[in-house]
């Protein structure tokens, strides 16, 4: 396959918001190539199989995004591993991560899982603090249910979720001693971002949450412990209850801005901070509706998404790194060992490091985590060991008509990087292929796949 021409940077600077958020329509300057298909599947899903890439190439951008945003299988009521709840509820070590990873691989609706993962980091609730597998599984189900719905509803649901209270050390809040941890997170990370409101707002908001207790896994309300007095939060006065605080804080303009900025970072770029003016149209409409699905769809369909501003401007998280390999290899992997391997390179599903979630970006990368990533990839492709040969590079290459060393090396490079790498790297891959005189067995294919995984661009999304 010929290398895709690197599209000229057609992004005007400073970026015009009107152009940026208009629908991307391929033209002579920016054609719909494999490069953009791969980009879309890395961001809106967890990577793609060769067939998915080819189908999308035929279908064009808007039809492909239709399928990601509203998968027909899901409309027909199907979803993979819907029976995973029972196991996650058992609270066994690693069960939550293992079944979630499996769902990410099998689901016909990967965008929903991608956004559930976003919210997981956003809320920053950790099993290590919740200490109850059932509650943690319910928390993730809640994130999934509202992942592409209304953020207003998601926040209201979170304000009724026992895992939230446990995860924020707010298992008891009494009239005489209000616990302000929940309010602090609600008025900070969950909405306006840290440092926007003052301590007094947090103290007042905390009074609205008095009377709420988590007892033996249930969220309970005791009227006698509730502070019924008037509270002043963000300049609004009233005898507020938790749902009022959620409403008030979402009415603050900074809330929509902060969430849009976070989702921009998640879907478009974590390299450059976007200009205020660029995000303004999105913020204005999000502040009205808090419709996450609409926001995500606008971003995915946009000119900006299919531009150099977004292309490979994110570092893959460990989850994206590992699942991208499995997706390309068209197989389910043993997700129990995978879950713990990912934990050791910095992303333990179910256990974000702090309530700020995973900061991601360059922080994912250190010599130790990179070594861990490459060793994990090698283990996943190995016929022996914990991953037991579930991923077979040789059979996938042959299945797609690339049986010889040279063709196979090119195939993996196209599958994962859409061939979009420097000429010197392509040459290196070819030299390695030529050096493999008679590739006996599938070991050579595994090495070829590993070589592509070791290309720096592979770490980027």
């Amino acid at each position: 396959m010929p290398m895709n021409a690197i599209a000229e940077n057609t992004t005007p600077k400073p970026i015009d918001a009107g152009w940026a958020w208009a629908r991307f329509e391929p033209d002579g300057q920016r054609a719909w190539t494999l490069r953009w298909v791969g980009h879309l599947y890395r961001r809106a899903a967890f990577g793609a199989s060769w067939q998915q890439l080819q189908d999308a190439l035929k279908a064009g951008p808007q039809a492909t995004i239709d399928g990601l945003v509203k998968p027909t299988a899901v409309q027909a009521g199907a979803d993979a591993s819907s029976g995973d709840d029972a196991v996650t509820r058992s609270g066994e070590a690693g069960a939550l991560a293992a079944w979630w990873l499996r769902r990410m691989l099998e689901t016909p609706y990967p965008l929903r899982e991608k956004m559930a993962l976003f919210w997981h980091g956003h809320f920053g609730i950790s099993q290590a603090r919740v200490k109850d597998g059932r509650l943690m599984a319910n928390h993730v189900s809640m994130l999934r249910k509202h992942a592409l719905g209304s953020y207003r509803e998601l926040l209201q649901a979170a304000a009724q979720d026992p895992a939230m209270f446990l995860g924020l050390n707010s298992e008891a809040s009494r009239r005489a001693m209000p616990n302000d941890n929940f309010a602090r997170q609600l008025l900070g990370n969950l909405t306006m971002g840290p440092g926007v409101c003052d301590e007094q707002d947090i103290k007042e908001a905390a009074r609205a949450f008095t009377g709420w207790f988590v007892l033996r896994g249930d969220l309970r309300y005791f009227e006698r412990e509730h502070d019924t007095g008037v509270k002043t939060v963000l300049a609004q006065k009233g005898a507020w209850k938790p749902e009022d605080i959620v409403r008030i804080v979402l009415e603050h303009g900074e809330s929509a801005r902060s969430i849009v900025r976070k989702i921009y970072r998640w879907l478009i770029s974590e390299v450059e901070e976007p200009e205020e003016s660029l995000l303004k149209p999105l913020c204005d409409s999000f502040a009205q509706s808090y419709d996450v699905g609409q926001l995500v769809e606008t971003m995915l369909r946009s000119n900006l998404f299919f531009s150099e501003t977004a292309y490979r401007r994110r570092v893959k998280s460990p989850v994206e790194f590992a699942l991208g390999i499995a997706k390309g290899m068209e197989s389910i992997v043993p997700t129990l060992p995978l879950g713990s391997a990912l934990a050791n390179i910095g992303q333990q599903l179910g256990d974000p490091p702090t309530v700020q979630g995973w900061p991601g970006g360059r922080h994912w990368i250190s010599p130790a985590t990179l070594t861990g990533r490459l060793a994990l990839a090698d283990a996943m492709l190995s016929p022996e060991g914990a991953y037991g040969g579930k991923l077979n590079a040789g059979s996938i290459a042959k299945k797609h008509g690339s049986a010889g060393p040279d063709a196979a090396a090119g195939f993996f490079c196209d599958l994962w990087l859409q061939g979009d790498v420097a000429e010197s790297i392509r040459k290196g891959l070819k030299e390695a292929a030529d050096a493999a005189k008679s590739p006996a067995g599938d070991a050579w294919f595994r090495d070829a796949a590993n070589r592509v995984i070791r290309i720096p661009e592979f770490q980027l999304s």
């Binding site: 290590a128 924020l168 050390n169 941890n181 390299v271 490979r312 401007r313 994110r314 570092v315 050791n344 390179i345 910095g346 333990q348 256990d351 490091p353 702090t354 309530v355 700020q356 900061p359 970006g361 360059r362 922080h363 994912w364 990368i365 250190s366 010599p367 130790a368 985590t369 990179l370 070594t371 861990g372 490459l374 060793a375 090698d378 420097a422 010197s424 790297i425 290196g428 891959l429 030299e431 390695a432 050096a435 090495d447 590993n450 070589r451 592509v452 070791r454 290309i455 720096p456 661009e457 770490q459 980027l460």
Partner: protein, 407 residues
């Protein structure tokens, strides 16, 4: 050649940019590592933290064997001048700690006495959290003091691994950071990557700053892999480590230090996970002797190994335990949770000797010695004077320093 790429070459190769164009990748990588690991401004120091889980009985570790109050408080656990390894006329190490005395006499070990904090907690989990976070009583604090130190020094443009957890514990809070990942390393061989014949080069060509960034990281990864391979190959003449889990962890630490990977902080542990440990509410004598023996023998092997490779001046080890124990026995031939206790330091650049006085055994805090040195003063000293990391940023305020490190 793009600016990023030039920058990359400068960073990893110094002036010899031509090397990068050579197809001899291994040679190039070797150079990359030599430039990347040690700090050009000077020697790179490392800190090893040993957690003694369960609450170590400081009074029977560094024993005030001539003190009457001690003698009265300890009926079955009392150690006399005949039992201990004498430091001076008043204090001596526990009978199991023969080799600790040797380290002390060689100037490789210091004892910081009476370390604790005001209103210290006597619940295991809470006290451990306090020692890990360095924010006593702040339940919502999720980061550890070493975690915050890692965040404070990590430079997003220079991929590095500032800290690793060597203890077989899941996610110690001590190393939890907002941003930096501290991996668990159970064996140095974890850093060894399978060699692929004709490995693709690590160079990246792009206007994209992330490509250069990842390339630099990969260069260091490959170099680290080689350095660890070399270290693991050279195991001749090595000091014999006893067959204890702590010794095993410290052996891994020395291997990683020898490989010069630029890791600054290591976390190891003794006494937790399963039965055994320092929490001796009943029949303390034999069990305490056994765990102190493990500690003493492991520290001695560690120190010998470092000295064998002339690395003793680059490494500082400190022990800590969530609390000390009560002076008086509890009637079950054991002791209960207490407050202040001594901290042991091991390394070649210590002032040596005893730091601070032995706490009074007549003026007690809930039947336990009172602290005169706040543990955050110790942390601040280590951060500022040993690791060269800003303690005020990590600890939230400037604590005074104590005299432990030689200039």
């Amino acid at each position: 050649m793009t600016a990023t790429r030039r920058d990359f070459l400068k960073t990893v190769c110094g002036a010899s940019t031509l090397m990068a164009l050579s197809p001899a990748v291994p040679e190039f990588l070797l150079r990359a590592s030599q430039a990347a690991a040690p700090d050009p401004e000077g020697r790179q120091t490392a800190l090893v933290v040993v957690q003694l889980s369960g609450g170590n009985d400081g009074l029977n570790t560094v024993v005030p064997y001539t003190n009457d109050a001690y003698g009265r408080g300890r009926t079955t656990l009392r150690l006399t001048g005949k039992d201990v390894h004498k430091i001076d006329d008043e204090l001596g190490f526990h009978p199991s700690m023969e080799r600790t005395l040797r380290l002390f006499r060689d100037g490789q070990l210091s004892v910081v006495q009476g370390v604790g904090y005001p209103n210290s907690n006597r619940n295991h989990d809470d006290a451990l959290r306090d020692w890990h976070t360095a924010r006593p009583g702040e339940i919502a604090c999720q980061t550890g003091w070493l975690g915050r130190a890692m965040d404070a020094v990590s430079d997003p443009n220079r991929p590095s691994t500032p800290g690793v957890c060597v203890a077989p514990l899941p996610k110690p809070v001590l190393m939890n950071a907002e941003a930096t990942v501290a991996p668990t390393v159970t064996s140095a061989s974890q850093y060894v990557l399978r060699d692929l014949p004709q490995s693709a080069s690590v160079e990246g060509n792009s206007e994209n700053p992330l490509v250069g960034f990842v390339s630099r990281g990969l260069a260091v990864s490959y170099a680290s892999s080689r350095q660890v391979q070399d270290v693991l190959k050279d195991s001749g003449n090595r000091v014999q480590y006893p067959a204890y889990p702590l010794a095993e962890q410290l052996k891994t630490v020395v291997e990683l230090v020898r490989a010069k990977l630029g890791i600054r902080m290591f976390f190891t542990e003794l006494g937790g996970g399963g039965i055994g440990g320092f929490d001796n509410h009943a029949n303390q004598r034999d069990n305490h002797a056994a765990v102190l023996h493990e500690l003493s023998e492991s520290l001695a092997a560690f120190s010998d190994d470092l000295r064998h490779y002339k690395l003793q001046d680059d490494v500082l080890l400190m022990t800590f335990s969530e609390f000390g124990r009560t002076l008086r026995e509890n009637g079950r031939r054991g002791t209960d949770h207490g407050a202040a206790a001594p901290v042991l330091l091991v390394g070649g650049r210590l002032r040596g000797g005893l730091v601070g006085k032995h706490p009074s055994l007549t003026d007690l805090d809930g039947d336990s010695p009172r602290h005169h040195t706040d543990y955050r003063e110790l942390y601040a000293t280590i951060l500022d004077q040993w690791l060269g990391m800003p303690s005020q940023k990590v600890l939230g305020k400037q604590y005074k320093h104590i005299e432990i490190v030689r200039g």
